[in-house]
C-alpha cells in the first residue's frame, strides 16, 4: 500500500513537479491549490501520511491551514515548502505544529531526503 502525500500549492508548476517527483518514488499524491481546498479534502475523509504545503496562497494561506488541520490530524507530519524566508513566520508555523520548513527552490533529492526523515519507509 503506497503512502499518500497531500501537496498544497497555488502554483500549477509546483503541483506538477512535486507530483511527478513523489510518484517516481512510489508515493500516491493528492493535490490542492489552497488551504481551504486541502482542508475540505481532509474533512471529506482523506488521511494523508504527509502534507507538503505552501505558505502564501489565496483563499486560505498555509498557516491558517495548519491551524485548522492540526486538530484533525494530530500526528501527520506537515512540511512547509515556501519562498518565505522570514524568521517570525517560521516561528509561527513551528508553534502551530509544522514539522519542517523548506525554502524554495529545494533540489529534488533534498526534498526526498527530508521526506525520508519525516516519513520512514519512503
Amino acid at each position: 500500500m503506497p503512502k499518500t502525500v497531500l501537496i498544497v500549492d497555488d502554483s500549477a508548476t509546483m503541483l506538477l513537479s512535486l507530483k511527478t517527483n513523489l510518484e517516481m518514488h512510489g508515493l500516491k499524491v493528492e493535490q490542492a491549490s489552497n488551504g481551504k481546498e486541502a482542508l475540505d479534502k481532509i474533512k471529506s475523509g482523506l488521511k494523508p501520511d504527509l502534507i507538503i504545503t505552501d505558505l502564501n496562497m489565496p483563499v486560505m494561506d498555509g498557516l491558517e491551514f495548519i491551524k485548522n488541520v492540526r486538530p484533525i490530524l494530530r500526528f501527520t507530519p506537515i512540511l512547509i515548502l515556501t519562498t518565505e524566508s522570514e524568521q517570525t513566520k517560521r516561528q509561527q508555523a513551528k508553534a502551530l505544529g509544522a514539522t519542517g520548513w523548506l525554502v524554495k527552490p529545494v533540489s529534488g533529492q533534498d526534498l526526498i531526503n527530508v521526506m525520508k526523515k519525516v516519513l520512514p519507509g519512503v
Binding site: S11, M14, S17, T20, E84, W101, V106, S107, G108, V114
Partner: protein
C-alpha cells in the same frame, strides 16, 4: 528671487527717498499746525511716508510706469504659463502613465503565464522521458531475461553434451581396455609363436640328423651286401621320411613366420588404434566444440550482465537528472512570486501617481499624498524572499551585505 530683489531696490532707492522727501515737506507744513502735539509729529511723518509709499506703489504698479514693476508680472506670468503648460501636459500624460503601468503589469503577467505553461510542458516531457526510459529498461530487461533463459537452455544442453562426452569417454575407455586386452593376447600369442620357432628348428635339425643317419645306414647296408639289402630299404625309407619331415618342418616354419608377421601387423594396428582413432578424434572435436560454446555463452552471459548494469546505471542517471530537474523547475514559482510583487508595486505606483497628479491639479482642496518613502516602506514590509530584501537594501539603503537568513531546510 531676482524679481523680489529688483522690487526691493526700487522700494529702497526710489520710493523710500521720494516718500521721505515728501514727509519732510509734510513735517515742515505740520509744524505750522499747532493743535497736533509735537510727540505725534514724528509718528505721523513716518506713517505719512509709509502711506505715501503704499499709494505710490499702488499707483505705479497700476500704471506700469516703472520698468521693474513691469518686469515682475511678465516673468511671473511666463513662469505660470510654463507651469500651466507643464500641468496640462502632465494631466494629459497621467492616463498614459497608468496605461504604461498597466502595460508593464500585463507584460509581466503574460510572462508569468508563459513560463508557467512552458514549465508544465517541460515537466510533462520530463515525466514522459522518465516513463519511456523506465519502459525501455523494462523491455530490455525482459529481452535479456528471455536471452538468459535461452542461455540457460543452451547451458543445460552443454551439460548434456558434457555428460554424453563423459559417457563416450567411458565407452572408449572400455573399448580401449578390450583392445588392450586383445592386444596383450596377440602379444602373448606372438610370443608363443616365437617360442615354437626354436622347436621347429630342433625338429629340422633332428630331421637332418636322421637324414644323415639314413645315408650312413644305406652306406653301411651297401657294405653289408645282400644281408644289408633289407636294412638299405629301411634306411632309404627313413631318409625319405626325414626329407619329408624336413620339408614339412620348413613349411610349418614358413607358415608360423607368416602368422607371426600377421600377428605383428595386427598388434601394430591395434596399438595405433588404441592411441588414435576417428571416434576419439570426433569425441575430442565434440568436446572442443562444447567447450567453445560454453566459453561463448559465458561471454554472452557476461555481456548481458554488463548491458543490464550499464542500462541500470544510465537509468539511474536519467532518474537522478529528472529528480534534480523537477527541483530546478521550482525557480518558475520563485520568479512568479517576485514578478507578482513587482506587478503589485506597479499597481500601487500607478495609484500613487494618480493621487499625486490630482493633488497637483487641485492642491488647495485635495489632501497632500504621503511621501513615496512610505510606499517604499510598505513594499519592504511585504517582501517574502531574502533576495527581495537584499535588492531593496542595495538600492535604497546602500547596503551590500545583509544579515544571514535562517537555514534553507529546517526540521523542527
Amino acid at each position: 528671487m531676482a524679481l523680489k530683489t529688483e522690487y526691493l531696490k526700487v522700494v529702497v532707492l526710489v520710493l523710500l527717498p521720494v516718500s521721505l522727501f515728501l514727509s519732510m515737506v509734510d513735517y515742515y507744513f505740520l509744524s505750522y499746525v499747532s493743535f497736533i502735539p509735537e510727540k505725534l509729529r514724528g509718528f505721523m511723518v513716518v506713517f505719512s511716508a509709509v502711506l505715501t509709499t503704499f499709494f505710490i506703489n499702488v499707483y505705479l504698479s497700476h500704471k506700469g510706469r516703472i520698468r521693474a514693476y513691469n518686469r515682475i508680472p511678465e516673468k511671473t506670468e511666463k513662469v505660470f504659463k510654463k507651469l500651466k503648460e507643464a500641468h496640462t501636459f502632465c494631466s494629459a500624460q497621467r492616463a498614459s502613465f497608468n496605461d504604461i503601468f498597466e502595460l508593464f503589469s500585463r507584460n509581466i503577467q503574460e510572462t508569468i503565464k508563459m513560463t508557467e505553461e512552458y514549465i508544465i510542458e517541460f515537466v510533462k516531457k520530463l515525466e514522459s522521458l522518465y516513463s519511456n526510459s523506465k519502459e525501455q529498461t523494462e523491455l530490455i530487461k525482459s529481452s535479456l531475461s528471455s536471452g538468459e533463459n535461452l542461455i540457460k537452455i543452451i547451458d543445460r544442453q552443454i551439460d548434456y553434451n558434457r555428460e554424453n562426452i563423459k559417457n563416450l569417454d567411458l565407452v572408449i575407455e572400455m573399448r580401449n581396455r578390450n583392445l588392450q586386452e586383445n592386444l596383450n593376447r596377440i602379444y602373448k600369442l606372438r610370443e608363443k609363436m616365437y617360442q615354437v620357432t626354436p622347436v621347429i628348428d630342433s625338429i629340422k635339425n633332428i630331421a637332418e640328423q636322421i637324414n644323415i643317419l639314413a645315408i650312413n645306414a644305406s652306406i653301411e647296408a651297401a657294405r653289408a651286401g645282400v644281408s644289408g639289402a633289407g636294412f638299405s630299404v629301411i634306411a632309404n625309407e627313413i631318409r625319405k621320411l626325414s626329407n619329408n619331415t624336413e620339408k614339412m618342418v620348413q613349411e610349418i616354419q614358413d607358415k608360423i613366420l607368416s602368422m607371426i608377421e600377421e600377428v605383428d601387423e595386427s598388434y601394430r594396428y591395434f596399438k595405433v588404434r588404441i592411441t588414435k582413432t576417428e571416434v576419439l578424434e570426433l569425441v575430442e572435436k565434440v568436446r572442443q566444440n562444447n567447450q567453445e560454446m560454453e566459453n561463448d555463452l559465458s561471454k554472452i552471459g557476461g555481456l548481458m550482465v554488463t548491458i543490464i548494469n550499464e542500462i541500470n546505471k544510465q537509468n539511474e542517471i536519467i532518474y537522478s537528472m529528472v529528480v534534480e530537474l523537477l527541483g530546478e523547475v521550482q525557480f518558475q514559482d520563485v520568479i512568479r512570486q517576485r514578478l507578482e510583487k513587482v506587478c503589485e508595486a506597479l499597481e500601487e505606483l500607478s495609484k500613487y501617481n494618480s493621487e499625486l497628479l490630482r493633488w497637483v491639479e487641485n492642491c488647495e482642496e485635495k489632501s497632500k499624498p504621503v511621501e513615496i518613502k512610505v510606499l517604499l516602506e510598505k513594499f519592504k514590509e511585504r517582501y517574502i524572499m531574502a533576495d527581495q530584501r537584499r535588492v531593496h537594501a542595495e538600492v535604497f539603503e546602500g547596503e551590500t551585505v545583509i544579515k544571514k537568513e535562517a537555514p534553507q531546510i529546517e526540521l523542527f
